[in-house]
């Protein structure tokens, strides 16, 4: 049995990871820790596990690995504490808010001999896996360009506080697609141009929309939209979409468009109910396997760092109105 702990429930994904842990064979949520003790206690109760309120005691317990779901700026100290305690680590994305932090986290984990992963569940979404495999098989020939979106609803709370999040939608919703593109095409990003701003819910204190133009090795051209612009009345949380232009054809993927339409009179809005596979199960399964096999998770700390490099360049570009090198 692989014993996992969750560090912090600040990010709502912690709750869905806890649910996934309960569903994956050979894995259990043996303890949680949270710098917000009340939140940690409630989460522990909700998920039928125990809270260890003292960080040292939590890290000295018999857990094999931790999933870190704190506010973005706290990822580094939590990863460092877990690495020194020789725990395997899966960290919520973005891995860090600065390149310096991300690099330090990767290096420390390497030094301590522990695996470090970044929570990029898109790598476990079957429609995206299918596109990746088709590209690898040469179905579309050389890839020339892509238009991508990662739209979302406004998450509120600390996400809009740059002192805790490090940035807004441009950061939150660029890293998934940046990772998917690197994973699908096997190329690194070279340049970024970005226009962004606080355009939808004005006055939230951070950007809620970013329009990016990226270039990858070999001159692959990418347009990406990172947003929190879905309205409250929109039928779902958001999307991950890609239209990929290749030598032999075009493929469009709407990663979560496996849904039924629900019209419920209590909600008084149309709702999309997804029936596709839960990618969190794949994420947790891979993390458990990485602990058993003493390797990095599928999306490693380096992959997290590469995505951070793109967001950092995007903010630099948005500030200077110039295309910048990654």
């Amino acid at each position: 049995m692989i014993k996992l702990g969750i560090m912090s429930f600040a990010h709502m994904h912690a709750y869905s990871y806890a649910t996934a842990i309960a569903q994956v064979n050979g894995v259990e949520l043996s303890a949680v820790w949270d710098d917000d003790v009340a939140r940690g206690k409630a989460a522990a109760e909700q998920n039928g596990t125990k809270l260890i309120a003292d960080l040292d005691a939590f890290l000295k317990s018999d857990i094999d690995g931790v999933i870190i779901c704190s506010e973005n700026v706290k990822h580094r100290p939590m990863v460092e504490a877990a690495a020194r305690a020789k725990k395997w680590i899966l960290c919520e994305k973005p891995l860090a808010t600065t390149i310096e932090d991300a690099r330090a986290m990767v290096e420390l984990c390497k030094k301590e001999g522990v695996g470090l992963g970044t929570a990029f569940p898109c790598r476990h979404v079957p429609p995206l896996v299918a596109v990746k495999n088709d590209i690898a098989d040469g179905k579309y020939g050389n890839i020339y360009a892509a238009t991508c979106t990662n739209n979302g609803s406004y998450p509120g709370g600390w996400f809009a506080d740059e002192a805790l999040s490090g940035g807004g939608a441009t950061m939150d919703h660029t890293v998934h697609v940046a990772d998917v593109l690197r994973w699908m095409l096997g190329k690194e990003f070279t340049h970024v141009y970005c226009e962004n701003g606080n355009l939808i819910r004005t006055g939230i204190g951070t950007d809620d929309f970013g329009a990016l133009h990226l270039e990858m090795e070999g001159g692959v051209k990418i347009q990406h939209i990172a947003s929190w612009n879905r309205s409250k009345s929109y039928p779902t949380w958001g999307d991950v979409t890609m239209e990929i232009i290749g030598e032999k054809g075009v493929v469009t993927v709407d990663a979560f468009n496996q849904k039924i339409n629900l019209y419920n009179d209590d909600a008084m809005k149309a709702q999309w109910v997804g029936w596709g596979d839960n990618s969190d199960l794949g994420l947790v399964q891979d993390f458990a396997d990485s602990i058993r096999e003493r390797r990095d998770p599928a999306a490693s700390g380096i992959d997290g760092l590469k995505a951070v490099e793109v967001t950092v360049a995007a903010y630099k570009s948005a500030k200077s109105n110039q295309r910048v090198a990654v």
């Binding site: 020339y144 360009a145 340049h191 133009h213 075009v250």
Partner: protein, 325 residues
């Protein structure tokens, strides 16, 4: 109002019945491909004029419609204006800003009315979107996204696939969106773009464009001439109190022909019939302007602005830096 049509290919044939419905009579047709001019002329009992410049001088022509490849627009506008003819010109107005200026100056000097066919301003779905925004249904607009395109067109002599002539998907296709964005949201501040123009002769062009408008709105436009088949238009407008989305694939009709019917078997053709086609509506607007009833929805200055936006996007894609207006 007697109309002479220069360029009787796909668009000339398409415009003729719309112009007739709006109250014009087709009296002269010219096309370097003689069969094109002859078949259109026969349909309306018009005469065929081999030399398009001579058509511009005909005393029994009141209005000249220019439906040629883009690089020829300016010369015909200048000639038609010289002879005091009013002018309908297909978009894009011209291939270069210098041509735009010359053509516009000629029309102004001659005191003739010049209308450029930015037909998207007349599409019912785009009107509905603009109306909902004006009615405050999405609150204050922050972001806009449009998508237009599909298969790469060829045109006579494959001129669409010659970037010097057509300006690619950016200047020929998504100029529709550029014009509509400016119509709905005001002037742009700067633009950044990427494209695949280097593959245009393979039948592939794809443009990805971001405008920062003067009022702060960020508008992204994607244009495709990269698809093996099909065509789609997408629009998304997000505000602080709601969103609007449109997808042309959600059409009321979808036909799929057994056998080829001129298309590859199995291709689904969506259709969205309306009583008044937007192409008729633009001709009716032009007619109303000529009759002194109202100002046109598209002014010549709007048409120059659309070319300016298209050329700035092309310049940005070349330099890989933003271009400020």
């Amino acid at each position: 109002m007697r109309l002479g049509i220069i360029g009787c290919g796909v668009l000339g044939k398409f415009h003729a019945p719309c112009a007739v419905k709006a109250g014009f009579s087709v009296v002269a047709c010219s096309d370097p491909v003689k069969e094109n001019a002859e078949s259109l002329a026969a349909q309306y009992g018009a005469k065929v004029v081999n030399d398009a410049m001579a058509l511009c001088a005909l005393p029994d022509v009141d209005v000249v419609a220019i439906c040629t490849p883009t690089p020829y627009h300016a010369a015909y506008v200048v000639e038609a204006a010289k002879h005091g003819k009013h002018i309908f010109c297909e978009k894009p107005f011209c291939r270069t800003l210098k041509q735009c200026e010359e053509a516009l100056a000629a029309a102004k000097k001659a005191g003739v009315k010049l209308f450029v066919g930015h037909v998207v301003r007349y599409f019912q779905e785009f009107c509905a979107i603009k109306q909902q925004i004006a009615d405050g249904k999405v609150g204050k607009v922050g972001t806009v996204r449009t998508y237009r395109g599909g298969q790469s067109p060829l045109g006579e002599g494959a001129w669409f696939r010659d970037f010097e002539k057509s300006g690619g998907v950016t200047l020929d296709c998504i100029i529709h969106d550029f014009d509509w964005l400016r119509y709905a949201f005001g002037d742009p501040e700067r633009v950044f773009a990427q494209d695949l123009r280097e593959r245009i002769d393979e039948g592939i062009d794809y443009a990805m464009v971001t405008f920062r408008m003067k009022n702060g709105i960020i508008a992204t436009v994607t244009g495709s001439w990269a698809h093996p088949s099909g065509f789609k238009v997408l629009v998304e407008v997000c505000g602080d109190n709601g969103m609007i989305t449109f997808d042309s694939r959600e059409a009321p009709l979808a036909s799929q022909l057994r056998g080829d019917g001129g298309m590859a078997p199995g291709v689904v053709l969506p259709a969205s019939p309306v009583n008044d086609s937007p192409y008729y509506l633009e001709w009716a607007d032009f007619k109303g302007w000529l009759d002194g009833k109202h100002e046109p929805r598209v002014t010549p200055e709007d048409a120059v602005w659309a070319v300016r936006m298209g050329l700035a996007a092309i310049e940005s894609a070349e330099k890989q830096q933003p271009v400020t207006f």
